[in-house]
């Protein structure tokens, strides 16, 4: 009787009890862990703090996009790892998108063979653990490449060897002017496009924006080459003999096999998921839409560009965002083949040297959280832009 009364009259109180219990339980667990951590760290004579980031790291990193050696700080090593993670994720996302779109469209091809090949590509690469694919490329496939002295040459400007892929290095003069001109071109294209949209919506006039944009993008940077003193030369890799049996390439840029294996495996694995998203998106646009578009006299390209793709993209983008996020997180598998990403450099070497488990693991996890959240914020913004605008 009492319980029933309590139930009806004090809904607020009834709601409060489970919440209070959960919060208290969570708090007590956190406090329990925190006190233990404090005691443990006290026993080992280390204090919590991030001051170690300024100390000298005194370890080398095999591949770095910014200047780095052992005399730099742990903070700088963290930055090197972060940049390497971003590099491999960006390469992976680029190739995964291209492969995924091609395979996804191929699965819908009316050519039976192409559709079947695409289907088997998806079934094979999706059902093998990513880490095994990375191991396969790194330990088995890339190890079968020739030694530097008889590397596979591409027109003598680029060489593929067991030690990596040597490509020409770009040497710019007045790179800043070039960069500014590219930015200016993009701003101009933005204005041209918004003008074209206005013209189309107000007067129904079609302006060929694609061609105009492309011309702008090529023409403006080209002008800087002609008149503003920008120039580009290449430094080609050249075979050099170190000792009677040891050869290497000097000059150029070396793309390390770890990066190749990781980017290859990440993009081929993620492409299968993107392909499925693309397929679902295109299938998700009703047949009636295409027929309606055809009946108002749009041609095949216009139907694809103006009717099918905008609707398909709406279905494709959200799950594909998730795949981009997954790829970024999966790039942490780099640690398995010693590609110096943030996990290997920071949560591996730096952690081993300093012993600051709590700080370093927290920083690493926070970094990934930030990366994940920033990609998802960007994609939500894009998604909102593409979403149905109901009137």
């Amino acid at each position: 009787m009492i319980f029933k009364k309590f139930n009806i009259e004090n809904k607020k109180a009834r709601d409060l009890i489970p919440q209070a219990i959960t919060v208290l339980a969570l708090l007590s667990v956190i406090i329990y862990f925190a006190t233990n951590a404090q005691i443990n760290m006290g026993n080992r004579g280390i204090s919590f703090g991030f001051g170690f980031l300024n100390q000298e790291a005194s370890f080398d990193i095999t591949f770095s996009m910014i200047e780095y050696d052992g005399s730099h700080s742990y903070g700088r090593a963290f930055l090197v790892g972060l940049l390497n993670t971003i590099l491999v994720s960006a390469i992976g996302i680029f190739f995964a998108t291209i492969t995924g779109v091609v395979v996804g469209i191929s699965r819908l091809s009316d050519n039976y063979l192409i559709a079947k090949v695409a289907e088997w590509y998806v079934e094979i690469f999706r059902n093998i653990p990513l880490i095994l694919q990375i191991f396969f490329w790194y330990f088995a496939a890339l190890r079968a490449l020739p030694l530097p002295e008889n590397g596979i040459s591409f027109y003598d400007i680029s060489f593929l060897t067991i030690k990596g892929w040597y490509v020409p290095k770009f040497i710019w003069t007045n790179f800043n002017i070039f960069l500014l001109s590219v930015i200016a071109a993009f701003i101009l294209i933005y204005f041209i496009n918004s003008y074209a949209t206005k013209q189309r919506e107000q007067f129904g006039k079609q302006i060929p924006t694609t061609i105009i944009s492309l011309t702008t993008l090529i023409l403006i940077p080209f002008i800087t080459f002609l008149f503003l003193g920008v120039s580009l030369t290449f430094e080609y890799p050249v075979l050099k003999q170190l000792s009677p049996t040891v050869f290497t390439y000097a000059g150029g840029v070396s793309i390390i096999p770890e990066l190749i294996a990781l980017a290859l495996a990440l993009s081929m694995y993620t492409a299968t998921f993107i392909a499925e998203n693309v397929r679902a998106g295109i299938l998700g646009v009703g047949k009636g839409q295409k027929e309606a578009a055809a009946s108002i006299g749009l041609n095949k390209n216009q139907i694809l560009k103006l009717v099918v793709m905008p609707q398909a993209l709406r279905i494709i983008i959200p799950p594909t965002t998730n795949q981009y996020l997954n790829l970024t997180k999966n790039s942490s598998l780099a640690a398995a083949i010693a590609y110096p990403d943030i996990v290997l450099v920071f949560a591996g070497t730096a952690l081993m040297q300093t012993g600051r488990a709590i700080e370093i693991i927290s920083i690493t996890m926070l970094t990934y959280l930030t990366l994940s959240i920033s990609i998802s914020i960007f994609m939500n913004w894009y998604n909102k832009k593409m979403a149905i605008k109901e009137k």
Partner: protein, 417 residues
């Protein structure tokens, strides 16, 4: 008079035989080239003889492309692989690549491969050295588990398969007990059998476990625990109580935002710092907790999708029958919601199985880890290809079977009419 006659129904009798023989000739040329290294067209200039099969095939396909020919098989062929020139080109490329890739694959896998022997020296051919897999097979399956005790792992898995097998044939009423046994009794029985330490069984520490059996053990336990936790988190995220909702959201998003490898790192190096000095939790258990919590967050999002997809009327109907929160969820909402998201659940479980090799970061070695160990053995250097192809095949079979099973289950449970 038209010099170029378009293939049509009138001239079908002349065009189809010519076209088919041209297509056949082009395939035959590639086939001879790939399998016997013969070049039929060697008398032609090299550039021409290289592209000749392609040209012949394209002409052949053009000649047999007759709309509404009245010959059923020809129409099906044209519709599926030969609807226009571009499609014909794609078809030719696909078939050429398949023909070209058969001989090297066949050589590596079977013809040039070595199957007999028990050391690396027995591998004399150019192909794969399957001796490597044969010699290490025991290790790949059981890890460093002592040979004399391996019957315990076998027994545990045999019991599992037997119970699952029998449960398919018993009545619905008995089936319930079988499932209860499998979920609540067997896991602990099995783990006791494998780890030993009592009933006269020798204790085998978890560091010695490994190979494919460890993959199965970790997957099974993680699936078992992550499912209920995921459901509770999903319900929590949709709860009307703010504190519970926000805690669930925070928990889910935290795990979903970080890679599993950092979670495993955390369980290995950071988690011990959070425990009272001197307490020690087994490595395997720490890893299991990490994987379970990680996958539970993903499971929660999948289940939430199902909960959101249910119409409001279902909740209202359950409430109007006087059901409380738990009874409503257990009897009305969850059965429908879970059925809706079977593909999502299957994908999460698949991801879990595919994630198990990551436990190498804490030093546990399942199948992929054991191959890493075997290929660095000085007596067996250079066997990476065989090892990873084998492991890839094993994982592929497991994952493909799982995804097929989930598709069947989805069809079976579908109540849509």
């Amino acid at each position: 008079m038209n010099l170029i006659v378009k293939p049509s129904k009138e001239n079908i009798k002349t065009f189809v035989p010519i076209g088919l023989s041209l297509v056949f000739l082009s395939f035959f040329d590639v086939f001879l080239n790939a399998f016997f290294n013969l070049n039929l067209m060697a008398f032609l200039p090299p550039q021409l003889s290289y592209f000749l099969p392609l040209i012949l095939g394209l002409i052949g396909f053009y000649l047999i492309r007759i709309e509404f020919s009245g010959v059923r098989s020809l129409d099906i062929l044209n519709k599926n692989i030969n609807s226009n020139n571009f499609n014909a080109l794609l078809t030719l490329f696909t078939i050429f690549i398949i023909i070209k890739s058969i001989p090297p694959m066949l050589d590596w896998f079977i013809l040039e491969a070595n199957f007999v022997g028990n050391s690396k020296d027995d591998c004399t051919g150019d192909g794969a050295c399957w001796v490597f897999i044969k010699v290490w097979f025991n290790r790949f399956m059981y890890g460093l588990y002592p040979d004399a005790e391996q019957w315990r792992i076998n027994t545990a898995f045999l019991i599992l398969f037997a119970v699952v097998g029998v449960s398919f044939f018993v009545s619905e009423k008995l089936k319930k007990y079988f499932i209860l046994f499998l979920v609540f009794v067997f896991p602990f029985l099995g783990i006791k059998l494998i780890s030993g330490g009592s009933f006269g069984l020798e204790y085998v520490e978890s560091a010695a476990w490994g190979g494919l059996s460890l993959t199965f053990i970790i997957s099974a336990f993680a699936i078992l625990f992550c499912f209920p936790i995921g459901v509770i988190l999903a319900l929590g995220r949709r709860s009307s109580l703010p504190a519970i909702r926000y805690i669930s959201i925070g928990f889910i998003e935290l795990w979903r935002g970080v890679p599993l490898i950092t979670v495993l790192f955390m369980s290995a190096v950071m988690f011990p710092m959070f425990l009272p000095d001197g307490t020690f939790i087994d490595k395997l258990i720490r890893v299991l907790i990490a994987i379970t919590l990680f996958e539970a967050a993903y499971m929660a999002e999948v289940v939430r999708g199902g909960l959101q997809a249910l119409p409001k009327g279902q909740y209202e109907a359950a409430k109007s029958l006087g059901m409380g929160y738990w009874r409503m969820n257990a009897l009305i909402i969850l059965p429908q919601a879970l059925k809706l998201v079977i593909p999502g659940i299957a994908n999460t479980l698949l991801a879990l199985v595919k994630d198990t090799p990551l436990i190498f970061v804490v030093g546990l070695m399942e199948l992929a880890g054991m191959i890493g160990l075997a290929k660095t053995n000085p007596k067996w250097l250079g066997m990476a290809m065989e090892g990873y192809v084998f492991a890839g095949l094993v994982f592929w079979i497991i994952c493909y079977a799982m995804s097929r099973y989930s598709q069947n289950l989805e069809k079976k449970l579908s109540t849509e009419r």
